[in-house]
Amino acid sequence: MDKRSDHRGPRLLRPTRRAALQLGGAAVAMPFIARLAYAQKGPVNVGVVLPLSGANAQFGVNSLRGIELAAEQINKAGGIKALGGAPINLVVADSTSTPTTAATVGQRLITQNSVVAILGAYASSLSIALSEVTERRDIPLLTMSFSDQITSRGFKNIFQVVAKASTLGRAQLTETAEIAKDAGQTLQRVAIMYEDTAYGTSQAAGIRETAKQTGITIVMDEAYPLGITDVTPLINKLRGADAQAVFPASYLNDGLQIIRSMRQQRIGIPVIGGAGGYIIPDFKQGLGEFAEGVLSIAPGSHDLAPELTAEFRQRHGYFMTHEALEHAVCLSVLVQAIETSGKADPAAIRDTLHTTRFDQGWAKAMTGGAVKFDQTGLNTLSEPLMVQWQGDDLVTVGPSKYAKKKPIWTA
């Protein structure tokens, strides 16, 4: 198609090689200057790697807001006491929504900014890619990504503050069966539909597994491509499936489309979302009254600790989303580990994280009121919660020991 581009011989290699080296040299020189600036003593550098642009930007931004809130509170309260009041200095990097970038910026934070630990990176694929770097550099990584893979690889420097996806999937089904039973219905036939991402598939696997054990029949089991532009085929299948409840796992746009299409076709069976887009304020805004009664599983909830999360709502005008909350927990736990070990040293922090039970600060907002990691780095105290849209608010309705209100089941 293009007849004008060049086709001369390789003799021309010469001048351009030089150009390449010069450009490379410039790129090499600049971060060196950056390194000098950070090499001084004083604040404790904590790395934050989050998707601040790209498809997951909204969740990255919320997460960052949670971390910033926690950092401000800690610094205002006098910094890290064990280090003579050293303040927390957050070094934030955008992972975009690409795993390779997450790994590269992680490397940068470790070597250029001498961070003692890293928090992030929301999406499981980003966190896993990032953990490959932190593990090899022996830097603790605290994450709220829920993929099972996070803590199943035998890594020593990774800490997952929430329950795993398969646990979430299991609870999603058993909790629902419980709620249905209380309302006098036996759950026998369910439908699952999920986006084909790490999050959707692993959660669906949890539901599938549990259904098999508990004798519940899955009458519809459909993955759909991320970024689907028309959910009607899914809803048509759902209409023909005769399910008693539907379990969708998706981010916001698909979630809204699914519920709207269901309402169009007068399908009134209960919807039990799989976290993601079902438990953010935009869900309620997008659906209005149609959000009422939608249930979802959640790894954490703002109403377990209103005294802590109120400030977030005051500042940003909406409730503290679970990703914001859990990221605040990550930072708070990290700081408690530094206080306990008495030094800002990655190895010491890691050992403390593995052995200590953290029940101060934001850790109180988690189920069990504390965080305790096992040897794989999984927080053993974290239990999935069942939340429901009631009125304008997302409230915890299960398990009963955490419930703030009674669940509403409209069979």
Binding site: P10, R11, P15, A20, S125, D196
Partner: protein, 324 residues
């Protein structure tokens, strides 16, 4: 000795010695390693995109095949990634031959869009076949101690040399191909396919050979990438934006069809992305990408034929003057 060779030798020496001054597991060396890898990938693309002038937007298909083949063989059978790399390259080459069949008659934009569809097909397959690929959850290279045989290292330094060697090899393949009989035939096809047929060039065969070479190399680089990052998912290796468009962009920005183009392109684009990210991403979300995008457009507006073009023009003028 030709000046270009001397310069290439000097550049190579510098590239070989440079990491000795850097932290072997640091950030800079990682950026350089990624840059070298993308330069090599772009150079592989250049065989089809530059020599045959077939604007492929589906090279991620081959890259992903290489990454998945070696990793699946390693995870399931414990096979060394070196063997996996060969297997991947063979599969990548075979897939390139397969892609060539329906796309052979297509020109320009149609070729670009057909190859794009092939890349997307591979992504969908990788996503929907979890028993083989691990599905959307991705696949991890099992953690192993440092070993050349298993192509796994804790430090970034060995990967740097691996990518450097890959770049040198691919560039050599490109230069030799371009100067050889295949290169002349490809040029004839590129200039005027009908005329080439008339003088006896089997255009279909020539294009397929170029595609197979390019696809095989791309797949081998996929293995190198998998061993370097230890984890990937379908979107990362089969992605349109992260791989297909990026490798084409690098070659085009540097100078399509030239040996130096992809190298220059990679050494501009990758560090540019990194710098934009490291300076701006802590502030406002989106700012670093915005600046990056503006710079991209500026480069294309100022130098639509690639960064190598003006230097080449200068060199050509210098040569004519000397010849006089």
């Amino acid at each position: 000795m030709r000046p270009s060779l001397v310069l290439a030798a000097v550049a190579l020496t510098v590239a070989a010695l440079l990491p000795l001054t850097l932290d072997p597991a640091g950030y800079l060396i990682r950026v350089l390693t990624v840059t070298l890898l993308f330069a090599a990938m772009s150079q592989a693309w250049n065989i089809v995109g530059g020599l045959a002038n077939q604007m492929s937007l589906g090279h991620a298909a081959f890259f992903g095949i290489g990454a998945y083949t070696s990793t699946i063989l390693l995870v399931n059978y414990g096979l060394s990634p070196w063997i996996g790399m060969l297997a991947g390259a063979a599969l990548g080459a075979a897939f390139a031959a397969l892609v060539s069949v329906p796309t052979m008659g297509l020109r320009g934009h149609y070729f670009a869009l057909a190859t794009l569809a092939f890349g997307e097909v591979m992504r969908v397959i990788a996503n929907s076949w979890p028993s083989l690929t691990g599905g959307p959850a991705g696949i991890s290279v099992p953690f192993a101690p440092d070993s050349l045989l298993m192509l796994q290292f804790k430090s970034t330094l060995p990967y740097y040399y691996l990518m450097l060697a890959a770049l040198v090899l691919v560039t050599a393949v490109f230069v030799v191909t371009k100067a050889g009989a295949l290169g002349y035939r490809l040029r004839a096809v590129k200039e005027n396919p009908d005329a080439a047929e008339v003088v006896g060039v089997d255009t279909a065969r020539v294009k397929t050979i170029a595609a197979v070479m390019s696809g095989g190399i791309m797949a081998a680089l996929g293995t190198a990438y998998a061993q370097f990052t230890f984890f990937f998912d379908p979107e990362t290796v089969f992605g349109l934006g992260p791989i297909s468009i990026r490798v084409a962009l690098i070659a085009i920005l540097g100078g399509i069809g030239t040996a130096a183009g992809p190298i220059v392109g990679a050494f501009v684009i990758i560090p540019l992305e990194e710098l934009a990210n490291s300076w701006l991403s802590a502030g406002t979300a989106g700012l670093s990408q915005l600046v990056y995008g503006i710079l991209l457009m500026l480069i294309i507006l100022v130098q639509p034929r690639g960064l190598v073009a003006p230097v080449e023009a200068l060199a050509a003028r210098w040569r004519t003057r000397r010849a006089r």
